[in-house]
Amino acid sequence: MTQTLYIQNYVRIKNSRLNINGSLKAFEIASAKAFAEQIYRSESLAYPKFFKMDLLSKFGFLAAELLLKNSEKPSDTSLVFANKSSSLDTDIKHQQSIEAGKNFLPSPATFVYTLPNIVMGEICIRHQFKGENIFIVQPQFSPKILTETINLQLSLGKATNFILAWVEVLHEEIDIFACLINAKQNEETKTFTTENLTHLYNT
C-alpha cells in the first residue's frame, strides 16, 4: 500500500501576479526580466548567480526559493518538472547568434541554457539537492503523468520529498506553478491528487 502524499504549499507566478499559498501580490512590470528581479528584491534574496540565469531558470529558481522558505530540504528531494516550450525562449537567442552573415557570436553562457533541465540544475546547486530529476515536455499542464511519476518514485523508494513544477517561459509570457509534496499532514495540506493540482494551477 502506497503512502498518501500531501501538497505542503504552492507558488503561482502568472502575468504580473505572484500567489504564494493563496496570498496574492500584484506587480507593475515593464518586462519579464524586471518582474523576476522585482520578486528577487522583494524577497531580499542574496544569490548573485541569479543574474546570470536565463528567464526560465530565474523564474524556476524564484519559485523554489518561495516554496522552500520555511521547509526542510532533504538532499534526496526529487524534482519533477515540465513545460510546453522546453528552452525555446533561449534557443531563439542562441539561433540568432549563429545565423550566417550576421554577427556570428555564440556564447557558452547562452548555449548552456538551451536545455530545459538546467533550471533543475540551478535549484539543485542552490539547495544541495542530489536526488532524482526528470524534465517532461507537454502541450499543456497535464498533471496525470507527473502525479504517476511522483507516486511511482515514492513506491519504488526513490524519494519521499518532491517538487513538482510547471515552468513555462516564452516571448515574455510567464506561467509558473510549483508545489512541495511529501507525507506530512496538517489542516492546511491538501491531498496530492491531479484534481487538487489542477485546481491550484487554475487559481
Partner: protein, 355 residues
C-alpha cells in the same frame, strides 16, 4: 511486481541503419566519425557521426522517429500502451524558419496524431541522460503495472545549433574523439535514432532498474568528486536488487573533465576493475539518443558475448586507472551497467541482465 523486459528494438547512427549493421561495424572497430563542413563565420570542418544513408539524412526529427517507431508495429490506440520520446533538441533544424515548429511540444502533438495514441506521448528532455532516463521511466511504469507496453524512442540530429554551441564551449575534439585517452580533447557529435519496446513479456534481456542523481555542483561542468554519478549508480544498483555487474558501458564523452570524473566515481564505488568501454569513438555523442542507443548495443553484447573495444583509447589518461577494453573481447556477460551524465549536473544509470 512483474519483471520488465526489453523486447524488439531498432536503431540507426553513423555506424549503420539497423542494430545488426551498427554492431557489425563496431565488431570491426570502424570509426564512422568523418569531417563535415559547417558554415559559421567561416567554413570549418568538424568530425561528426552522420547517418551513412542519404535518405535518412534528409528526414526531419519527427519523420525519422516515425519511420523507426513504425518498424516495431505497435498499436498505440490501446489504453495500456505508451510512447516515451527522448530528445534534447528535437526539431531544432526548423528553428531558422519556423519558431513554433521547433517547439518540442509540437512533436508530442505530431506523434499523438500520427500514431493515434490513446495516451499522449511522454517527451523527456533531460540533456545527455535523456535516453537512460526514458528507459528507466519505461521500466518503472511497466513494473508498477501502469502501462503494459511502452515504446521508447530516442533521437537527436546533428545541427549547426548544437555544433556551434559545443564549439563555443571549446568542447569539440579537432580529431575523432578519443574517450579516456591521455590526449583526449573533447567530444565528437553524432546523430542517431533508437527505438525499443519495453514490457513484462519475457525475452532474452531483462531491465532490472535504474536511477538518476544530480551533482548539485555546476550547470556546465561535471563534479570533481563524481558524487552525482556515484549516487546514480548506487541507487540504480539498489533498484536492481544489488546484482553483480560484469561490464560497464560508460558515458565517456572524451572531454578532459567528464572522463576524469567517471574514473573517480567508478573507483570510489570499487567498480574500476570491471571491463568498460565508451562507444563515442565509433559514432560520436548522440546526445538524447545516446543512453538508449548504447543500452541497445549492451543488449547485443549480452546476447553475442563479445564486448567491443573502446575505440580511440591508447594511453591511460585519467587519475584513476580503469579497465578500458583495448581489444574486442569474448566475455560471458550477464549483467551490464549503462551510465550517462549531462549538463545541468544530471547523471543516470540503468542495469540490463541476461534473462
Amino acid at each position: 511486481m512483474p519483471k520488465v523486459f526489453l523486447q524488439k528494438y531498432h536503431a540507426a547512427c553513423a555506424s549503420g541503419t539497423s542494430i545488426e549493421e551498427v554492431c557489425e561495424s563496431l565488431a570491426q572497430n570502424i570509426s564512422s566519425l568523418k569531417p563535415r563542413t559547417f558554415q559559421f563565420e567561416e567554413a570549418k570542418d568538424f568530425f561528426v557521426g552522420s547517418f551513412p544513408d542519404e535518405k535518412l539524412r534528409q528526414l526531419s526529427f519527427n519523420e525519422l522517429c516515425l519511420k523507426y517507431i513504425r518498424k516495431l508495429n505497435i498499436d498505440f490506440s490501446k489504453a495500456d500502451t505508451l510512447l516515451i520520446l527522448s530528445t534534447t533538441k528535437g526539431e531544432i533544424l526548423s528553428l531558422e524558419r519556423d519558431t513554433e515548429a521547433a517547439s518540442l511540444h509540437k512533436s508530442v502533438l505530431f506523434f499523438e496524431k500520427e500514431l493515434h495514441c490513446a495516451n499522449q506521448p511522454l517527451l523527456i528532455s533531460n540533456a545527455c541522460i535523456s535516453g537512460v532516463l526514458a528507459l528507466v521511466q519505461a521500466h518503472d511504469f511497466v513494473k508498477a503495472g501502469l502501462y503494459k507496453s511502452i515504446v521508447v524512442c530516442a533521437a537527436d540530429l546533428i545541427s549547426p545549433f548544437v555544433v556551434s554551441g559545443f564549439n563555443a564551449f571549446q568542447a569539440i575534439s579537432p580529431q575523432a574523439c578519443t574517450p579516456y585517452d591521455k590526449n583526449r580533447n573533447g567530444v565528437s557529435l553524432g546523430e542517431a535514432v533508437a527505438v525499443a519496446l519495453v514490457s513484462s513479456e519475457e525475452s532474452e534481456i531483462e531491465l532490472l532498474g535504474g536511477a538518476t542523481a544530480n551533482d548539485a555542483n555546476h550547470i556546465s561542468g561535471p563534479s570533481r568528486t563524481g558524487e552525482g554519478l556515484m549516487l546514480a549508480i548506487k541507487n540504480a544498483l539498489k533498484q536492481s536488487g544489488e546484482p553483480k555487474i560484469d561490464f560497464v558501458s560508460a558515458h565517456g564523452t572524451a572531454t578532459v573533465f567528464n572522463d576524469e570524473m567517471e574514473s573517480i566515481a567508478f573507483t570510489t564505488l570499487g567498480l574500476q576493475h570491471l571491463p568498460l568501454h565508451s562507444l563515442k569513438g565509433y559514432f560520436g555523442h548522440t546526445l538524447g539518443a545516446a543512453g538508449l542507443l548504447e543500452s541497445l548495443v549492451c543488449a547485443e553484447i549480452i546476447k553475442q558475448g563479445v564486448a567491443y573495444k573502446s575505440l580511440g583509447f591508447e594511453e591511460a589518461g585519467t587519475s584513476m586507472p580503469l579497465n578500458i577494453l583495448r581489444e574486442n573481447k569474448n566475455l560471458e556477460i550477464k549483467t551490464v551497467l549503462k551510465t550517462a551524465s549531462g549538463f545541468g549536473g544530471c547523471n543516470g544509470a540503468v542495469v540490463l541482465k541476461k534473462a
